[in-house]
Symmetry: C3
Subunit: 473 residues, 3 copies
């Protein structure tokens, strides 16, 4: 079936009219350079030209919560996949990566119908030339083949970056990150463009259990004690300036709800002091998060960094798993999200600013047509992010276009980003978006909602132009 999946017209409508148009549109954008304005690839991968990826299990399974979440849901313990618990007790952890690989391959049928299945097959075929679908039968052979390739320079991170024709790759970095990898890259002659993104969540979210430690790290970085709210704000501004100097184009903010509100300096100082004393409660955290979004919008109006807000993920819903293995274990579950009322204070203050670009993401699809498209279709500052996480899929993209375009048009979209930590899946993900865009535009063209000339221009924008302009890449 992997072979089948590589048919040139894959993922397009089976309607011959639509398919023909989709192929034509797709071919006009297929080879455009790739822009990655938002993602989670480790910049360290690119610092050393000799750097190699690890073994197939380390590359495909243990870091990818999309993969192991579905195996876990079917009763496979994380330990059996070689995932290490926080307490360092390795007693139950599969030590042989090839055994974990075998478990994954023999359960590959569980991924049928999911984008993970498509990404993995596209990646195996497109990057490594393997057109077989993983199975119990070929697990050992695939492991050997991949292991061999992963040691070759041809499959090193830098060579793949070049082969993928990536024009810019933005990483995501804690506000307290010293950006040493990015700085090292700046001092080299390699042409790859790896840019940091400022993510201050650990400092702005008072529920973060390590908040005090993270604040201390911030103090170390700026060589100053932080004892007041204005001092805290100043430190964040300093870090933003530093990130910008190293090439950052954007900031990123994960919030459970996109609540924003204006508070007096005294209120914010009060919360901050309680946080310093370890006395901040849930209400404080909620208000602080709201105040921080206001501050970040204000700072973006000043320094021009694009502000990205990802809302609606209830993190670490499975508490036992969280205690055993930590975050990002596939147990982040979306919740209902409300943008119109929550963002009103921020947008009423900064929404008409020419300097602000606010990119919104949701895990609650009912918001697309109801709130996000009307907001982005009105406020000059608001751009609508691409389908996020669970919706970064063929169906999710189709529903996204369906839900938003009629209200927001195309030119208020932020373009695509792959949001991935799996570097080798980047081309597969962008290709899926390009195919989904081409197919959707072809459908609109076949119905005479769009003309073919418009469709072609818009396809270019969706694949490249919108991201380039939104993030000023």
């Amino acid at each position: 079936m992997a072979g089948e999946n590589l048919r040139p017209e894959r993922f397009f409508s089976s309607d011959p009219d639509v398919r023909t148009l989709a192929v034509e549109i797709y071919e006009s954008i297929r080879d455009l350079p790739i822009l990655c304005p938002h993602g989670h690839v480790d910049p360290q991968l690119f610092v050393d030209p000799l750097q190699r990826f690890g073994n197939p299990t380390e590359l495909f399974i243990t870091p990818d919560h999309y993969v192991f979440r579905l195996l876990f849901s079917q009763g496979i313990p994380l330990e059996a996949l070689g995932i290490q618990p926080l307490d360092g007790n390795h007693a139950n952890v599969e030590a042989d990566p090839q055994k974990a690989w075998g478990l994954f391959c023999s359960n590959f049928h569980l991924f049928a119908g999911t984008p993970t299945s498509l990404w993995l097959q596209e990646e195996l075929a497109g990057v490594f030339g393997i057109t077989e679908k993983p199975s119990a039968e070929n697990a050992e052979r695939l492991y050997a083949q991949l292991s061999e390739m992963l040691q070759m320079e041809e499959y090193s991170p830098r060579r793949l970056y070049e082969r993928f024709r990536i024009e810019a790759l933005c990483t995501t970095d804690a506000a307290t990150d010293n950006l040493s990898a990015h700085q090292a890259l700046q001092n080299q002659t390699w042409a790859g463009r790896i840019l940091p993104t400022f993510r201050p969540d650990k400092l702005t979210n008072l529920k973060n259990p390590t908040w005090r430690t993270d604040l201390s790290n911030l103090e170390v970085l700026i060589s100053k004690e932080i004892t007041t709210y204005p001092g805290f704000i100043q430190a964040l501004e300093d870090r933003r300036a530093f990130f910008k100097q190293i090439g950052a184009k954007a900031t990123d903010h994960d919030v459970l709800t996109p609540y924003t509100a204006e508070f007096t300096p005294a209120e914010l100082e009060g919360i901050f002091q309680r946080a310093l004393r370890g006395n901040a409660d849930a209400g404080d955290a909620h208000r602080f998060s709201a105040g921080m979004l206001m501050e970040m919008a204000h700072m973006s109006c000043e320094d021009g960094l694009v502000m990205q807000v990802h809302a609606g993920s209830f993190r670490n819903n499975n508490r036992n798993l969280f205690e055993q293995f930590g975050s990002d274990m596939g147990a982040d579950i979306p919740v209902q999200t409300e943008f119109t009322r929550n963002l009103a204070p921020l947008l009423q203050k900064f929404g008409n600013s020419k300097n602000l670009t606010l990119v919104l993401f949701t895990l609650d699809e009912s918001c697309y047509g109801r709130e996000l498209a009307p907001l982005a279709g009105h406020y000059p500052s608001v751009k609508l992010g691409p389908p996020w996480w669970f919706f970064d899929s063929l169906g999710g993209m189709q529903r996204y276009f369906e839900a938003v375009v009629e209200t927001v048009g195309f030119y208020n979209l932020a373009g695509f980003n792959d949001d991935t930590r799996a570097f080798c899946s980047i081309t597969a993900r962008h290709d899926l978006w390009r195919r989904a865009s081409a197919n959707w535009l072809a459908g609109q063209t076949a119905k005479h909602v769009l003309g073919m000339q418009d469709a072609r221009v818009i396809a270019q924008e969706l694949a490249y132009g919108l991201a380039k302009r939104t993030y000023r890449l």
Copy 2:
């Protein structure tokens, strides 16, 4: 592309089976008369046979928030489109309507994929015979052409009304409107049927900043001081009787949430007295709105006026813009809406009444299948309004049918209304609905969910019969 758009089979599925059936169904309803049971056209347009529309900018841009909202979202100031601020300061306002028209034309690509793009092109082609898509290149020529036509009798409001084959056109009129235009029309021999609709929002919404003035206007109209809640209710009943006498078929109510509840007369009197003294707070306004919906349902049971409830629009979300330019500036953003619990008190009291027709509209599509279809599929009084505002689009209509028909059938739908203030777009809007209906019915027929004979009958109902019976036109 406008030329392409005028292909006879436009907007139908590209599947040949579906398309053939859609053409056949559409042709059977294309030329049915047009009923406009709900809209915002100015009745004054029709009073004087010599009346003409203004220049192209006044006709197509400045009054249409669908149009200027999208231009604003891309950074074009409203002033550049010739829109006047409330303070009368014209310093930054484009005085030359042709320049505003040029800005609109050269940005026409922004509308790609939106219903506004389709309406405008259909209107230009169908009403004015212009099959070019507006662009920077043809802006001046189109302006000249249109300006000339708009002065001709052939393009006068009355002649277009006749040419459009409109059977009845309902306007929307404040409860304090004296209906002078409607009365003038009644005293003329012109056959056009322009009917008022009773909209008391400014009196029933205590958040209305001009509430006291509007109440005074009401006092003037009924030549009586209003000092008590029963006096207020009596005044509203008097106005409804007057509207009905001038031909009104319906009332219209815009509410943020469709909250209803029963209050004691003393509670309502208390709120009303606080409102008279300017002391009503947000809670009062919320309760008063709930009480008013109950009163209106009660009055509809008495006088038979169809009750229309539009819920879920957070009006004037962009406060700066509101302060500068007032309402209807494209900054009304939808919010989540709840009908099941909110309407229970009203429906438990009046929902089984044979005299009540309650038409519900939503901007929260997730309500369609979850709440509105089950409500309309049970209560004899409830009818489901057509896709409203952002969803009055090809995709919106498709999702509407998809979401509601299986639960509610066809005969509990209220039929279509164009809800427009842009008179010249009426045929384009009805044609889109007829095409979308035909296409959807064709799809169901091609799958053998419906027989062709049923589909044809239902198409007639959707285009004409349901609206006629729901509004007793």
Copy 3:
């Protein structure tokens, strides 16, 4: 049209590629045995081999709220359909079942586009060989034909069970049911497999107006007075053990919201004592419901009964109708539902248990992709139930697959159940699911998202395997 509806390719896409694949997939599963893991058929029907269904009105109209709700919505009083009010006042009740049947037939057009229309036509054709669509013209003749058939052994419940090739039929039974019918069936040689399901709602929902009586019934059954919370819990455990012994595979829980929370034994005892004294308030009922779901999950971990939770129906929304006719009168209206936060306490305690199978159902489609698929795609205990009630329809199934599969895959689905009290509609309902599944898989295959071999395996799972394994049938 009924004739048209029986075309072999009915309900499949009109796209020739998809249709061809759909036919092929469907044919491979069409004749699989039928599993009914959740439904409301009366077990008494099967105890006596001589048992017959009643007249056509009793079979098709009076017990089916899908049918009479839509007639009621169009102004037809329930009495005119022969439905008896609770007060026994028959004055306005149509006494002649043939007249009620005539009313139904002459209004059959109201069902166009609904699954009820498809079920009824499929049932008439598939079970009774009647391929005409009911109408005013043929009402009398159909009534006579059906009446005659319903007296024949060939159309007795037992013969139809065999003809339908049902492998197991689970009923739904109050915790206080003595399961006499099930026991009688166990003592017979008939091969039919009719299994009870434990539904304790009347005891766990303190808002139930007959709670005290139901508790007394429970006391009688266990021959013990229940004066304490532990005694209550013990009684429920005893009943579960009894149900399991008679063959039960599952429990079923209807809740307005799926709120769960941990309470201390003292809190639960306090609520229980207030309930015994008739003093429990709405807050008590809300908390008790949350505590009961925790207890039920705990018990399922012990006894292995599958736990089914149906959430989001506001029962008896039409109070007048409820007072006149009681429950299940077509006036249950869905409300917004929240699972992520509400279920967190339960899932954090039991969600990783190997012994728990928790099947979730919703009437709020916006939860599918946002909450239910991510939950079922992570927690080993959670399975996603099929489209429920209003969404048990061609469109509803299509939207379900579309919304959930990309996140949850196929193997975390619970398979299909018909949830019906209309025994004769069972084959029609399962056939619709099989057709919808085949069509959806064909669409995915035509787009090369799935290979044909996978699609065929998955079709078998959806039609049979998943239900069999989920419910251990």
